[in-house]
Symmetry: C2
Subunit: 319 residues, 2 copies
Amino acid sequence: MPGEFDLIDRIRARAGRRPDVVLGIGDDAAVLRVPPGHDLVVTSDTLVAGVHFPAETSAADLGWKALAVNLSDLAAMAATPAWCTLALTLPDADAGFVDAFLDGFLELADELGVSLVGGDTTGGPLSITVTAHGLVPAGEALRRDGARAGDEVWVTGTLGDAAGALAQWRAGGPFSAKLRYRLDRPTPRVAAGQALRGLATAGIDLSDGLAADLGHVLRASGVGARIDLGRLPTSRTLADHFDEARRWPLQLSGGDDYELCFTAPASAAFAIEQALAACGVSATVVGQVQAGAGLAFMTPEGEDYAPAQAGFQHFQGVH
Amino acid sequence: MPGEFDLIDRIRARAGRRPDVVLGIGDDAAVLRVPPGHDLVVTSDTLVAGVHFPAETSAADLGWKALAVNLSDLAAMAATPAWCTLALTLPDADAGFVDAFLDGFLELADELGVSLVGGDTTGGPLSITVTAHGLVPAGEALRRDGARAGDEVWVTGTLGDAAGALAQWRAGGPFSAKLRYRLDRPTPRVAAGQALRGLATAGIDLSDGLAADLGHVLRASGVGARIDLGRLPTSRTLADHFDEARRWPLQLSGGDDYELCFTAPASAAFAIEQALAACGVSATVVGQVQAGAGLAFMTPEGEDYAPAQAGFQHFQGVH
């Protein structure tokens, strides 16, 4: 059984290295060079076994997801991902698990040009904390507090697939592999986030569900919004497995979509569609920002709709 | 019982904010401004209950130590601490624990001018991952790989106090409050690290014990060293509780000192003493770097001494 330092050597041997990494894994800390005129964007997210993912999730999927949820936060800030650290707590020093975990983690890191520059391996109940670092031209980070009354509310991709997979898993099946893939291998909308610089007024990533996450934007911006449920972008697979009444709660409160939700004036709509199409990402206007507080949902029949729960709470768990 | 967002609000309300924090806690990520001509230095360390600290450690001590062990890594790089993120995994959303944890965490953060800029709170077995960010003039980070044959080996402060406290705890007492304080409230040698810029050739912080940590420096530098046990700096309290035969293993392999170990040419000795005295830190030459590999220890009688174990292994645990 390898010990802590052997695990670090395994990780170090496989970590990529950008030219702006002055010193990577293997010293007391990493040394990184931020280019002039750029701000540093930093986020940390933890995944705990049995709370954020079913315990039987594969190590490779876990590696992918642990990085993806952090890069999704950088995407929501319109930042370009650059570096990350990995704090991996494992019940035992299992080299096979670490290798498989790195398969998924580094597949995504390599795809997006992110260098793993440091971290920690410790013994304990399975848990992963990734800290991701991105760069954005100074002053151009996309924040939550810029939404204005009259702006349109957009979301990228489709909503509810990951929550659909979790609902199927909780019910004991039958399972859709397509939905499960969206749960296990979320795609952080990194290129889309960067494309929204100068176009969107506010943005957030959808980790806890549209109702909760858009709520954060509205409170930070001091405005409200109305969402038309008939406009929620829905995958064919989700529609095949869940009718409207079962789908809306998944799409509003299910979480784990890792799509972007953003606001922009109607005058920017054409430019946004062009910019996102250029990165191969679809986006849909789902509602409008309004003066005053509150977030209202309306059915296609024009009736008010109240989401069953206000977003995923991490102290609740998936088991 | 407050939920996740209430805990984040509690943390946000108390986090300090340096002028170079463009955007702190409360968005998808923090936005930070690195001054021109500086490198960014990043480290992540995890503390797990029962592995890195006795389960009955007070929340305030835990908060202090979770930050201290990370700032100690920055000190070893000669970096000036600037910002940190905190990923806190708790068995339940216990506001009293979080408040006490923040008492210790922010006491140290405020003392050293570090802003808490983000993080995550999740449910799960108690564990804390801190990522600390420091700044250093470009190219001036103190690395592990610069030690040269003929350099002197230095350590700051005294060694073995924390390991002495842990040995007393494992033996069921009697306890020394002074030793326990060194275990629970380690002082990261931040000012000393910065003072060593341009003077030391290599450096590391002593988290796993002198034998293991100096070993990392020697391997990275491609050299060996000889340490004189008679020169190990020892607190009066440790000497009162442990005779030499019981003390040396604590000082060489016990870990948790969070002092700095560094190498420097003899010609720099006077300047080093002056620079460290100016920050109120004592430092002692304990041996010499030699050509060739290997780390040898010699008793005051001139006999070879072999440390019982090669450093603290985090998969071993404290319970």
